[in-house]
Subunit: 122 residues, 2 copies
DNA sequence: TTGATATTTAACCATTGAGTTAAGTAATGG
DNA sequence: CCATTACTTAACTCAATGGTTAAATATCAA
C-alpha cells in the first residue's frame, strides 16, 4: 500500500482533460473577459459553461472579479506549474532523440529484468 | 461554435489525472517490470490495476512486451510531450514574477474580493 | 416599480470511470 | 495431464461528470 501523491495534481490534470475547459483557458490567455463572452463560441448552454468555469476556479486556474452583474474572468496559470513540474520529471522519456524507451533499453541494457537497482538512468 | 483541439490531449490529461496511474508511471520510470509487480503496492484488485494499465497503454504511455505469461511493461513518455507543449504555452502565466494573478489583483484592487464563490473548501 | 440582462443554482438524466468478484485464457512445470 | 501462475475479460455497482431545462439571484436602466 503506497501513499498517494498530491491530489491537487489529480484535479489539475482532470480540469485540463476537458476540451471545453482548455478552450476557455486559451480564450482567457488573450485577456480577461466575461462569462457570456466565454460561453459564446460553444454549442452548449450557459449553465454548462458556468460549471466549467467553476471547475477551473476550483483548481485556481481561473480568477473572477465581479463587476456589477458582469463576472470578469482571468486566467491564473500558477496551478499549471505543478502539472508542468510533474511532467518535467519524465522529460528524459520524450525529450531526447530516443523517443521510446525501447530504443534506450536496446542500447544501454542487455537484460536487466525487474528492479534496476544498479540503474544508471537518472 | 468552435472547433475542438486534439482529443488525444483529453485522453493524456485524463490518464494523468489518476493518482494510481501516476504512481504506476513513477514506478515504470525506474525500469520495466511486470503487471503483478506493478500492482503489488496498491490496495486494489489485480483487475483494477489491469484496467489502469490498459488506459495507460491506450494513450501510449505504456508499452507491453509479452514474455511468456509475464507482461513486461515499460514507460513511453512520448505522449507527455504533447501535454508538456500545451502547458508550455501558458508558461508566461506562471513562470513570471507575477506568480498568481491574485497577487496582482490584490495590489491593484480593493482587496475585498478574495473568495468570490466560496463553494467548496478549496 | 418593472423589466431586461448576466449569471448561478437546482433538479434531473445519460454516460463514463474506478472499483469489485468471478470466470476465462495462456504459459509453465511437476 | 493437471495444477499453478500471470493476467485479462465479463458483468456488475456506485459515484462523478457533463450536459439539459427551469427557476433563482442580482444588477442595471427606464
Amino acid at each position: 500500500m503506497v501513499k498517494y501523491q498530491s491530489d491537487t495534481l489529480d484535479h489539475i490534470f482532470s480540469a485540463l482533460s476537458d476540451p471545453t475547459r482548455r478552450a476557455i483557458l486559451a480564450r482567457l490567455a488573450l485577456g480577461e473577459t466575461t462569462v457570456s463572452e466565454l460561453a459564446e463560441p460553444f454549442d452548449m448552454s450557459l449553465p454548462a459553461v458556468s460549471k466549467h468555469l467553476k471547475v477551473l476556479e476550483g483548481v485556481g486556474l481561473l480568477v473572477r472579479e465581479r463587476q456589477g452583474r458582469l463576472h470578469l474572468c482571468q486566467i491564473d496559470g500558477a496551478p499549471m506549474r505543478e502539472a508542468a513540474n510533474w511532467i518535467g520529471r519524465y522529460r528524459r522519456f520524450w525529450d531526447t532523440q530516443l523517443d521510446s524507451l525501447a530504443d534506450y533499453l536496446e542500447r544501454s541494457n542487455t537484460n536487466n529484468r525487474k528492479n534496476p537497482s544498479g540503474g544508471k538512468n537518472g
